[in-house]
């Protein structure tokens, strides 16, 4: 699992190695500032610096830029796709590496806002940009081989089975807010990290399955199945959101232990959190349905154009 810096550098070409070293130096400087001056940090700086988040986000952005540059002109992603990718990665970075993460540890509704970004909006925007091919082009050869390990591919194939992917997506939305689970997830920093990464990775897997612009067999599943998946995950979220909104007692006393940063009651906090679970989360499914319908239309138009040109 451990990769030495030397072997990593050898896997990169010289300009890329220089760039990677620059990123590591920037990260180290940021980590030092965060460690030594916690009382003077602006809200856009990390509350707790995480090398994992930093390297994943900056690495993804870097390889995407490199992939864009090395793609032939006609295969380069358009402006909207590029914007969507950087917005998605940026939102994930902001929600885990700024004041928002500190606030999410102390207010339930901000925690739900953070998960709306990590599980829905961020991965949704990344998937919408259809970045796989571009990032692949941007990866150095050594890392490309790493992504083709049989075990990883098999695991991804299983996790992106439509029924399992939909089940996992809903299951994670239900598991982490179970009061007894949530209690320990907020108190145990390691469990907290697992919670945030689990929803982020699951979000990317789910939305990239749903928002693939290509028809089957190029895409894993047909547009019809994807419509069903996007609609299927919507209703359980509505039910959970409504349950939390209308709960008459504070289900999450753990925030009394963590200490709330805004002067609102536990029930108010919970109501706002329930509304976030209910409305914007389910709206993401509605957006997905509209986008899939648009993909169907575009593919049908392409098919008509193609058949016209063959005639």
């Amino acid at each position: 699992m451990t990769v030495s810096l030397g072997s990593f550098s050898r896997a990169l070409d010289p300009p890329l190695a220089t760039f990677a070293m620059a990123i590591v130096v920037i990260g180290a400087v940021e980590a030092l500032i965060v460690e030594n001056f916690p009382g003077s940090l602006p809200i856009w700086m990390p509350y707790e610096f995480s090398w994992t988040v930093f390297l994943c986000c900056v690495g993804a952005a870097g390889f995407y830029v490199r992939g864009c540059c090395s793609s032939p002109q006609r295969e380069r992603p358009g402006r909207w796709r590029r914007t969507s990718f950087f917005l998605g990665v940026g939102l994930i970075y902001i929600s885990m590496q700024t004041w928002l993460d500190y606030a999410a540890q102390h207010m339930f509704f901000i925690h739900r806002l953070q998960h709306l970004i990590l599980h829905h909006t961020g991965p949704f925007l990344i998937a919408l940009s259809d970045p796989a091919k571009v990032i692949w082009r941007g990866l150095p050869t050594g890392l490309r081989r790493g992504t083709q390990i049989q075990g990883v591919m098999t695991c991804l194939n299983i996790l992106q089975q439509p029924a399992l992917a939909s089940f996992l997506f809903v299951a994670l939305i239900y598991i982490w807010p179970i009061p007894s689970v949530h209690y320990w997830a907020m108190l145990d920093p390691m469990l907290y990290t697992i919670m945030n990464w689990s929803v982020t990775i699951d979000g990317i897997l789910f939305w990239s399955l749903i928002l693939d612009p290509r028809p089957k067999p190029l895409a894993r599943v047909s547009f019809g199945v994807r419509l069903i998946c996007a609609a299927a995950v919507m209703f359980p979220q509505m039910i959970l959101g409504a349950f939390v909104v209308f709960a008459e007692r504070d289900l999450y006393p753990v925030y009394n232990i963590c200490g709330r940063i805004f002067p609102i009651s536990g029930l108010q906090d919970q109501t706002y959190a329930g509304l976030i679970l209910w409305v914007p989360s389910t709206m993401m499914s509605v957006f997905a349905l509209i986008i899939i319908l648009n993909f169907i239309r575009l593919n049908e138009e392409d098919a008509v154009t193609l058949s016209g040109s063959l005639r």
Partner: protein, 196 residues
């Protein structure tokens, strides 16, 4: 600590147990058991009783009770410190074995003298710590403590919010227990006697 890619077996086991049972196993503690979840005690602040710069090693061999607050606090801080004082008076043997560290989150108003006068109202093993904004933020972040000081336009508008939880460390500086605001003296007494 949070950034480690190695998943602790304890975290995974805790998650599995929670999912399987919906509740934790029965514990010997009355307070919230957080053993092995947080880093050990590390601080660098000034003790208002002695005026000395203190570090965690100065408290080695004693159970440390850490609490964040401010001397102008109308309710939470005096209530919590009075509860701890009543425990210390009930169980005098705890006074030599434990130290209560009251960390000021409002160093602008809490001067050394004011804090010293404040802590003298409580048990003799209660002292206050004061530090720079970075020293305070570093200690608070280590244990995920929230605090905000809002100096409004007038003195009546000055508000301070802070985590009201009490953090209890064993003699080696490991964070063992959390006591939410409102924890009774009996529960403190039970667990402090077990730790001492």
């Amino acid at each position: 600590m949070i950034d480690s890619v190695t998943l602790s077996r304890r975290s995974i086991l805790a998650l599995v147990l929670l999912l399987a049972s919906g509740c934790g196993s029965k514990s010997q503690w009355k307070l919230v058991d957080v053993k092995d979840m947080y880093p050990e005690l590390k601080l660098r602040m000034t003790d208002v009783r002695t005026g000395k710069l203190m570090s965690a090693t100065d408290y080695a061999g004693k159970t440390v009770i850490l609490f964040f607050g401010y001397s102008f606090c109308p309710e939470i801080c005096p209530t919590t410190l009075l509860t701890l004082t009543s425990v210390m008076e009930q169980r005098r043997e705890l006074q030599a074995k434990t130290v209560v560290l009251f960390v000021s989150v409002d160093p602008e108003r809490d001067t050394m003298e004011a804090l010293n006068r404040y802590v003298e109202s409580f048990a003799p093993n209660v002292t206050a710590l004061i530090g720079t904004s970075n020293e305070l933020a570093s200690l608070a972040r280590r244990y995920r403590v929230a605090y905000t000081v809002n100096p409004g336009p007038g003195s009546a508008d000055y508000t301070v919010d802070h985590t009201a939880t009490v953090f209890i460390f064993d003699k080696t500086g490991r964070l063992m227990l959390l006591a939410p605001y409102g924890t009774g003296a009996e529960d403190f007494e039970h667990d402090l006697l077990l730790l001492a």
